[in-house]
């Protein structure tokens, strides 16, 4: 279950639309079990179909999260023109089994979904927007 503030969901769609047609990406942080913060990060691939976070930005964001006494909960990225489903490449490159993987889709109906990915298998988890 991913509990997330509606303001954060709104911000994810805003970033995805602003960065389209390129994929947008970043981290989500939670406090007391609710995602309250999104940290947009640079997609160093600058691609319509691929993303990679910049390791230096990752560490900076991680420290911001810690300084706010929050916890890194998820990594997100957008699919500007495809559904909110993890691609085989998304699954292959999901190395951290403790995070949620959130996908924001701008394809036809805008949607956001969250997945847990472990040992090459993706399982959708429920999202509760609060």
């Amino acid at each position: 279950m991913l509990r997330i503030k509606h303001q954060v969901v709104d911000a994810l769609f805003e970033q995805a639309q602003k960065d389209a047609p390129l994929e947008a990406c970043g981290y989500l942080a939670e406090k007391n079990g609710v995602v309250e913060l999104h940290l947009p990060l640079k997609n160093i691939d600058a691609s319509k179909t691929h993303f990679s976070l910049d390791p230096e930005e990752q560490f900076k964001a991680f420290r911001v999260i810690r300084s706010r006494e929050m916890r890194l909960k998820a990594v997100y990225h957008s699919h500007p023109a495809s559904p909110a489903l993890p691609s085989p490449e998304d699954i292959r490159l999901a190395f951290d089994p403790f995070l949620s993987y959130v996908i924001v889709s701008l394809d036809k109906e805008c949607s956001v979904k969250s997945f847990r990915i472990k040992a090459g298998a993706a399982t959708e988890e429920a999202i509760e927007i609060v």
């Binding site: 990406c25 810690r66 490449e89 998304d90 490159l93 999901a94 190395f95």
Partner: protein, 69 residues
């Protein structure tokens, strides 16, 4: 050794302790896919096995994050 790992205080008895040892200790299954900072400085991945950690060091590690179609 008293360390700070990903912001949390940890007490580790192993000494000497390399970055590779620490990643094993923290059950990192894909060490080739993590970036490590030792006291705020990136550690080159090929040197994980020979970079030794000292008492009071701060170590942060994060997985590569990416994906695509």
């Amino acid at each position: 050794m008293e360390l700070k790992v990903n912001g949390e205080a940890k007490s580790v008895s192993a000494d000497p302790l390399s970055i590779s040892d620490l990643l094993k200790l923290f059950k990192v299954e894909m060490p080739d896919m993590v970036s490590v900072q030792l006291n705020g400085t990136f550690v080159d991945r090929p040197t994980f096995g020979v970079t030794l950690i000292k008492d009071k060091d701060e170590i942060d590690f994060l997985y590569y994050m990416g994906g695509g179609q």
